[in-house]
C-alpha cells in the first residue's frame, strides 16, 4: 500500500505502517553511519548530550558522495544497517522513531523496534542517483571532521522507502522471501 508521511514521525503514523508498505517521506531526517554512531555511543557513555534529539526523528544510514556545484548533495543511497545494530537499541530507547537503511537487523534491534513502536525502512540499495533527487537540502550539523560520515540534516520530499520491520515486529525480508522461494 502506498503511504505518504511526514518526518519527524508521529506515534500514529509509525503505528499505522505495515511491513511491505511503500512509503514516501517528506520533512526533516538525519544521516548517521558507522563513525557517527560510534561517537554518539561514546557521548552517551560520558553522559554528554547527543548532537541530535532522537525524539520522533528518523536516522538515514547514509554517507553521500560529494555534491557538484549547485546541488544539495551527491549520490545518496542507503548503507547496510546491520553495522549500526550495536548502537540502534539505545537510540530507539531514547525515542528514535525510524531508521532507513538496507539489509537485515539483529534480534536486539527488532525487540527495540517493537518495544518503542518504531519502524525500520529500507531504501533501494544502489539507487543513490535517483534518491539524491528527493533531497532538497543538506547541512552538516555535527562531526564535520568525519567527512562523508558526518551527521547531516536533510530536507526530503517524497523520499521513497519500503517498510521492512513494522512496530509489531512483522519482517518483510522473511515474509516476502518465503512467498517467492521455489527450492
Amino acid at each position: 500500500m502506498d503511504r505518504y508521511i511526514n518526518a519527524p514521525l508521529s506515534d500514529e503514523d509509525a503505528a499505522g505502517l505495515r511491513a511491505g508498505d511503500y512509503v514516501y517521506i517528506t520533512g526533516t531526517i538525519y544521516t548517521a553511519r558507522d563513525a557517527a554512531h560510534k561517537r554518539m555511543a561514546e557521548a552517551l557513555e560520558k553522559g554528554t548530550t547527543l548532537p541530535i534529539d532522537m525524539n520522533h526523528n528518523i536516522i538515514y544510514y547514509m554517507g553521500p558522495s560529494p555534491a557538484r556545484e549547485g546541488r544539495p548533495i551527491g549520490s545518496a543511497g542507503p548503507t547496510t544497517a546491520s553495522r549500526m545494530d550495536k548502537y540502534a537499541p539505545d537510540l530507539l530507547d531514547l525515542g528514535l522513531k525510524g531508521m532507513i537503511g538496507k539489509g537485515k537487523r539483529s534480534q536486539a534491534v527488532k525487540d527495540a523496534i517493537v518495544r518503542n513502536k518504531a519502524v525500520y525502512f529500507a531504501a533501494v540499495g544502489g539507487a543513490g542517483a535517483l534518491l539524491s533527487k528527493r533531497i532538497t537540502s543538506s547541512r552538516v550539523i555535527a562531526y564535520d571532521d568525519l567527512g562523508t560520515e558526518a551527521i547531516r540534516e536533510l530536507t526530503v520530499e517524497n523520499f521513497p522507502v519500503i517498510v521492512v520491520i513494522d512496530s509489531e515486529g512483522n519482517n518483510l525480508y522473511e515474509l516476502a522471501a518465503k512467498q517467492y522461494c521455489k527450492m
Partner: protein, 280 residues
Amino acid sequence: MRTIQTTDITENIKQMCIEANHYLSDDMKQVFNKAVDNEESPLGRQVLEQLKENLEIASSDMIPICQDTGMAVIFMNVGQEVHFEGGSITDAVNEGVRQGYTEGYLRKSVVKDPIIRENTKDNTPAVIHYDIVPGDKVEITVAPKGFGSENMSRIFMLKPADGIEGVKEAILTAVKDAGPNACPPMVVGVGIGGTFEKCAQLAKKALTRDLNCKSDIPYVNDLEEEMLDKINRLGIGPGGLGGTQTALAVNIETYPTHIAGLPVAVNICCHVNRHAHRVI
C-alpha cells in the same frame, strides 16, 4: 620494446574511475533489462524500474550510480615488452585514482589503517593486481568495489571429497547469508581452485568477465547456469524484498589446485557491477 609514459597511465586510470562510477557496461545493462522482464513480484519490478531510472539519472546528470563509489580494484596486465618511463607505475596508478576520485566528485571511502581508521581523503591506495603477459600493450581494468556486497563475500576451504556438490552448497550458502545486505539482484563471482589467495583473486576477476562470455570449460559453463537458476529460486529478489531475480549472473573461474584441497571463493557484487576496460 615499447615505451609508455606513466603519465598516460595516470590519465587513463583517472578517466576510467569516473567512467565506471557513472556508466554501467553494456553487458550489465542487457542482463538488467532481462531481469525487469522476468521478475514475477510486483514490488520486485518496482525496485528494478527504480534502478533502471537510477542508471539513466546517473549518466545524464553525472551523479554516481551508487554513493559507495568503492575501493578502486585495478587489474594491470602488462606486456613484457613494455618499458615504463616517468617513475613508479604504482605511484602513477594511485595518482590516477586520486585525480579521478577528487575531480569526479566520487566518495572517498578508504581508511589508512584498518584499526585506526583515518580516512586518506583521496580514496588511495588502490588494490592493484599486476600480471606480466606477452606483448607490448597494457590492459587495464578498473573495478570500483563497494563494501555492502564485499562484506558478504566468503571463502571456503573444502575437502576434495566435497566435490562439485560441496561447491554448489558453498555458493548457495554465501548468497543466502548475503540476502538483502548485498543489494540484490547481484552478480556472483566464484573462484574454484588455486591456493587461499589465488582463489579469492579468481572470484574477483570473475566479476570483471563480460557476462556474454561463457566459460570454455563445459562443466563450468553448466555450473554457472545451474547456480543462476538455483539462486533465483531462493526468493530473495530485488532489494531482498522478495522475487525471482536475485542474481543477474554467475561467473566462475577455475585454476589448478593441490591434491589435498578444494578452495572456493564467492565474491558477491551488487547490481552495480562496475568495470571499465582499456588497452593501451
